[in-house]
């Protein structure tokens, strides 16, 4: 009924769902679970990177841009909700966010106004990153800019955006970002109950995104993307418009990063330029690399693992953690380009396949297809 590959994917996704939906909520206290929820928001970025970098060979060092844009869209809505006339009556201009008041801005800027509406904000969380990704993608891929140049330019755009956000303090909250967020349409997001609900919402959204990316990877589109990564010219000569495929997958990754960013804002209750710039963007790439750039589930585990290690390490030995993180970058790149997923494929996969009823001859070319 199902092919071997599908059976494997179903197995992996079920294991992941059981871990995220049952094991972790039962095993962790509210504080730790909230941390996991925060890490999960990064996995949206990393599974986007699997599609974008692992499958299509487009290394974007600017995923923090899209994560941040999604997060800021959410934060602007929440901030406006928190800035009622009642709550801000001590300001010289009540009804606008507090940091605008501190920066002597007396009226709500035009681009803030639509964020009074929840539905607009929800659309913007996806639309803003997608539009920017399409503009960047169109400008770059139509001109056949790729590889290292693309990486450097996305990085530069990340730094431009950070400088802009920090510089335009009155409109963006500057270095502090948008803080003191309280309610989502009247629902207090700071309670433990709300955090639990947000955690589950995040998990379900993540599973939906995983299924979506799995669908894309297994479709004909996915095969074209992989062909493009390996032999771009041949795909072009076969009559495919390579640029449009690249723009599509880049925009898809951006959309998911945006969703992740919005969830992040809800989970932690603020958004700041720290999550937009070059450093977080590169770290997101390394989360993906640790798990395995060709494995969706692997990328999720990689993200959770690195973040968990960072939190537990840096609590006690912050210096050592920086060394460990640097060593991780080097070690993964040099010794394990396929990430943890390649360890699995080399050592555990044959046994799993035997249990699932496949024969060994199928293992060798199934490597690239894992969900």
């Amino acid at each position: 009924m199902f092919s071997l590959q599908s059976r494997k994917d179903i197995l992996f996704l079920s294991i992941l769902s059981v871990i995220l939906l049952i094991v972790l909520p039962l095993g962790l206290d509210a504080f730790r679970l909230n941390l996991v929820g925060k890490y999960l928001t990064y996995t949206f970025v990393t599974i986007g990177l699997v599609a974008c970098w692992g499958d299509s060979g487009i290394l974007s060092l600017g995923q923090g841009i899209f994560f941040g844009l999604g997060g800021y869209c959410m934060a602007m809505f929440l901030k406006l909700q928190a800035s009622t006339l009642e709550a801000t009556k001590s300001q010289s201009t009540p009804g606008i966010p507090d940091f605008m008041d501190w920066n002597q801005i007396t009226a709500l800027p035009w681009f803030w106004k639509p964020f009074h509406s929840l539905s607009f904000s929800l659309v913007a969380i996806i639309a803003v990153p997608v539009l920017l990704a399409m503009v960047i993608g169109a400008a770059m891929f139509k001109r056949r800019v790729g590889g290292t140049y693309f990486a450097i330019i996305t990085q530069a755009i990340a730094s431009v955006l950070t400088i802009l956000i920090i510089g335009q303090q009155g409109y963006t909250g500057g270095v502090n970002g948008i803080t003191d967020l309280r309610t989502l349409d009247g629902w207090d997001i700071r309670t433990d109950h709300a955090k639990l609900v947000l955690y589950y919402a995040g998990v379900f959204l993540l599973l939906a995104c995983l299924l979506l990316v799995r669908f894309v990877r297994q479709s004909k589109l996915g095969r074209i993307l992989r062909a493009m990564r390996d032999q771009e010219d041949r795909v072009r000569f076969s009559g495919y418009n390579v640029a449009n495929f690249k723009i599509f997958i880049f925009a898809l990754a951006a959309a998911m990063a945006g969703v992740g960013g919005a969830l992040f804002t809800l989970e932690v209750g603020f958004m700041s330029p720290t999550f937009v710039g070059i450093v977080p963007s590169i770290e997101m790439v390394i989360y993906c690399a640790v798990g395995g750039r060709n494995s969706l589930v692997g990328a999720v585990y990689g993200t959770l693992l690195v973040n968990w290690a960072r939190t537990s390490f840096s609590e006690s030995l912050p210096e050592l953690w920086t060394f460990a993180m640097g060593g991780l970058f080097i070690g993964i790149v040099v010794f394990l380009p396929g990430g943890l997923a390649s360890l699995y494929e080399n050592y555990i996969d044959p046994y799993v396949l035997r249990i699932l009823g496949g024969n060994r001859s199928q293992t060798s070319h199934a490597v690239d297809e894992t969900a």
Binding site: L59, T148, A151
Partner: protein, 308 residues
Amino acid sequence: MLSGYSFNDLASIFVMQSFAGLILFSVFLLMALGLAIVFGQMGVINMAHGEFMILGAYTTYVCSYIFAQWAPALFGLYFFVAVVLAFIVAGISGMFLEWSLIRFLYKRPLDTLLATWGVSLILQQVFRSTFGAREVGVTLPDWMMGSWNLSDTIQIPINGMIVIAITFLITGAIYALLYKSGWGKQVRAVMQNRTMASNVGINTERVDRFTFGLGCGVAGVAGSAFTMIGSTSPTAGQQYIVDTFLVVAFGGTESLGGTIASSFSISQARSILEFFLNGSMAQVLVLLTVIGILMLRPQGLFALKVRR
């Protein structure tokens, strides 16, 4: 935005800002030269380049400390010793990095980016553990402190002129090395066609190592020059790395002249705009312009015409 200034004011603003721009240009150029050698010639994306610059800066700092402590009579000369030392320390560290890491990654340029990012994290932490997280500055000897009064409103600081002079010297030396010496010929041959170069008997491994070392050494000199105009902190290198990559890409990676032209135009544009807008907006505007031009001319301003 120009109202409220007389012509004379504008002229002196212009001169002062372009001089500030020249200093920025010097640091950019020294950083970019090193990067252009490594990235343009070897195709390696060295994200730790900024840390090599900081390594040079800390070398200078240590040098000034040693001179002040044990040879105060010679303090006026420490800077020249420091520049040479910075070059040697950064260059040898660069050669070590090439030997221990980079040479395994020549066929995977995007992976060099991630691996060297790891190196930069480690180096930053080393600096932080050794010198502390706070910024350190060097004391300049008296003769470098003054300034040269061109007119009532125009003053040219002497340390700035020294930085510029060093930049010119280094640029000239690198040009001579790459285009006039036999070794430079080998470097260019290896970069254009590695297999062919090794077939005619060039030791490509050694060329790679020295080229990488040279690039890092020049970054060290950039750091040494940087101490004269600003203070050093463990993460200062990171602030320059993206700008420098853009400078190199903007000028066209394979061309030395392009690197000079692009660092000149970018630093001047930024420095002059900085006076009229605030600093961050000037930076954004210049970066966006560069990105825009790069989208129109992906190969940079001065691309080498080669068949691909």
